[in-house]
Symmetry: C2
Subunit: 244 residues, 2 copies
């Protein structure tokens, strides 16, 4: 592998370690290294790319900060896996008022396919007429239904999904069967009254105050991949947000 060149001319300046990082992320997107697999060692990568070990280190440290890889002293650098523990820690912010966070069970209510509506088109960057897969499910903690969830996926990205068993941990499915890694999510929260439908699903009266979480999930290359609308009962739960 030959050395990457600086391109100081136009775009202002892109540091070498940035180029190394982008190149390694490209490899992740392309599935060169599978989730859970070890990357080559720093020395190896440095030799391959024609840069110093320190530069590779800086790129890998940045990727570790983005939760794309996990580094373990004495063992190596590994592609981050989308197992439940990681999802729980990274993306699932609803925790019981007293007690430890736990991954909720889920039961699928319906799975259908149709034309994307205006909202889905805008969020998922789809063209008019594009199809989306919609999954509606209810999630329970300690056997009590607490989340009614509607998930919209671009059908083009997920062929044959309709014929598969829908697992509890969807992000694991995206990674495993479609090679799509969710890297970022953006969530917009509001308090609203429960609609009759959602109220029925959750076993409360319509109009009950519920937390409405509108999540958009992006892949490694910033492509929008999933829109998820969650209606949450927060009687015994809260959404935990740490800022610093």
């Amino acid at each position: 592998m030959t050395r990457i060149l600086d391109q100081t001319e136009v775009l202002g300046f892109r540091p070498l370690y940035r180029q190394v990082r982008d190149r390694l992320i490209r490899n992740l997107v392309d599935g060169v290294w599978a989730p859970g697999e070890a990357l080559p060692s720093e020395m190896q990568l440095a030799a391959d790319l024609g840069v110093s070990q320190g530069t590779v280190r800086k790129a890998l440290d940045a990727m570790a900060a983005e939760n794309l890889v996990v580094r373990r002293q004495g063992r190596g650098t590994f592609v981050a896996r989308h197992d439940e523990e990681r999802i729980l820690f990274q993306f699932f912010k609803l925790v019981p008022d007293s007690g430890v966070p736990s991954f909720p069970d889920s039961r699928v209510l319906s799975l259908s396919q149709g034309r994307a509506d205006a909202n889905e088109r805008s969020l998922l960057a789809l063209t008019p007429g594009s199809k989306v897969i919609r999954i509606k499910r209810v999630r329970s903690i300690e056997d009590r239904p607490v989340i009614a969830e509607t998930i919209s996926l671009p059908a083009a990205l997920f062929p044959d999904l309709a014929g598969m068993a829908v697992p509890n941990n969807l992000y694991g499915l995206y990674a495993m069967h479609y090679g799509i890694t969710i890297a970022n999510t953006q969530e917009k929260l509001k308090a609203v009254g429960a609609s009759p439908d959602d109220a029925a699903i959750l076993g409360v009266t319509p109009g009950t105050p519920v937390l409405r979480i509108d999540r958009l999930a992006l892949a490694l290359d910033k492509t929008p991949v999933e829109r998820r609308l969650s209606i949450c009962l927060t009687q015994d739960l809260h959404y935990l947000s740490d800022l610093s």
Copy 2:
């Protein structure tokens, strides 16, 4: 200033750059450098502390990642200031559904002092009988009241606060007059129905779904400093949470 010694013996290993970081944070807590002021240059600090420039750099980079200092190429490293722009970006997550975030105006409804209740004692780590200052205020965006807020402060940390004008930006006041820098906050969100009191303040009917944000703010040294209970109307606003 003499070199800091490793203390590998007991606690397992504390890297040099960590010790440098802790030492610099100690200086921030002690007010050696005021907010907005420039720290000594990397070379200067390295000479003072008897370590290499690279080690100082790593410590400062870590502090920049924690938003404690701001580094500007060609100018220097500055103690982070608690001006409105920074607060807006760092701690204020409520944004209009369409449009740019803006800092809300606020009007104080009451300011009183009393014994901390059980909840305040537990959150603020106070002993029974400790006094707290309570501020109740309403905050408006574009002249519409959208947040009813109750703030509890340990009276011991904020002498004479009752006699001061309460500014819109409280964290600026804490920093300026009391030398207390808010470094982290933890927020717990729930959807609830508005109480009669809050409903009256916000101009809605009791029971209207509102977002309840229970915030605990910590100082640089992890001391709990402020508890803030915000009741928010989210008809035209949402709470924005970016995860990665």
